[in-house]
Amino acid sequence: MSANGVRHWKMQRITAVALIPLSIWFLVSLLALPGHDYTTVVTWMAQKWSAGLLMIFIAVGAWHSHLGVTVVFEDYIQGGTRTFWIVVSRIAHIFAAFAMIFAVFYVAFGSRA
């Protein structure tokens, strides 16, 4: 793991900095919607900027989450199952991120493709 230590530290900081504007944008966009019914939400998501930023937010957010969970697992899981749980977390994060990005892409651009 030691070879990855610097990379891990750097990526955690880079994703953290990127998430400051991205997470604020995401929360403010959701709170600013006039309602959260299907039509309103899809209309918002189908806008090019919303869809693009949302996909970037999901990717960066999932990455930052994976890095954070890895550190917690390294610190608090003792013994041989540690690596197993870190791999489980990695697969779950990748799966969740791809599912969400695909869904946003499909909702935003699917009907026009």
Binding site: S2, S65, V69, A99
Partner: protein, 130 residues
């Protein structure tokens, strides 16, 4: 064991310090936001499922207990955001003295509660113009 310094075990601390509390809260709020990703996954999959699926999910998410969960996410977001900015300032080598980090631990706590209240008011008060 990973080849990097690990967190000391919690029992080495005889009494709770603000700095320690702010560090552990940052971890818990971070994990809370990871749980938030799962809710986001559920919500986005419901949108992908179409109007009827979404309506069912919207109904489930409108439950009063989920309002509490949502308030928890707003606090987790506020705290993790502000504590994260504190960490990024530490990375530049500033604010690392004992007194400074005690002060900033308090500041992070106060600011995040204020931000949570503002966001909760915006989220839950229907009179806010949008």
């Amino acid at each position: 064991m990973p080849d990097r310094p690990l967190s000391p075990h919690l029992s080495v601390y005889r009494k709770l310090k603000y700095t320690l509390l702010s560090s552990i809260t940052n971890r818990f709020t971070g994990l809370g936001l990871t749980a938030g990703l799962l809710v986001l996954l559920y919500w986005i999959m419901a949108i992908l499922g179409g109007p009827e699926t979404y309506e069912r999910a919207e109904h489930a998410l409108a439950h009063p207990i989920f309002k509490l969960v949502l308030a928890g996410f707003l606090f987790a977001f506020s705290y993790h955001l502000i504590a994260g900015i504190r960490h990024l300032i530490w990375d530049t080598g500033r604010g690392l003295e004992k007194r400074q980090s005690q002060k900033s631990a308090w500041l992070v706590g106060v600011l995040s509660v204020v931000l949570t209240l503002v966001l909760a008011y915006w989220a839950f008060c229907p009179a806010v113009p949008r």
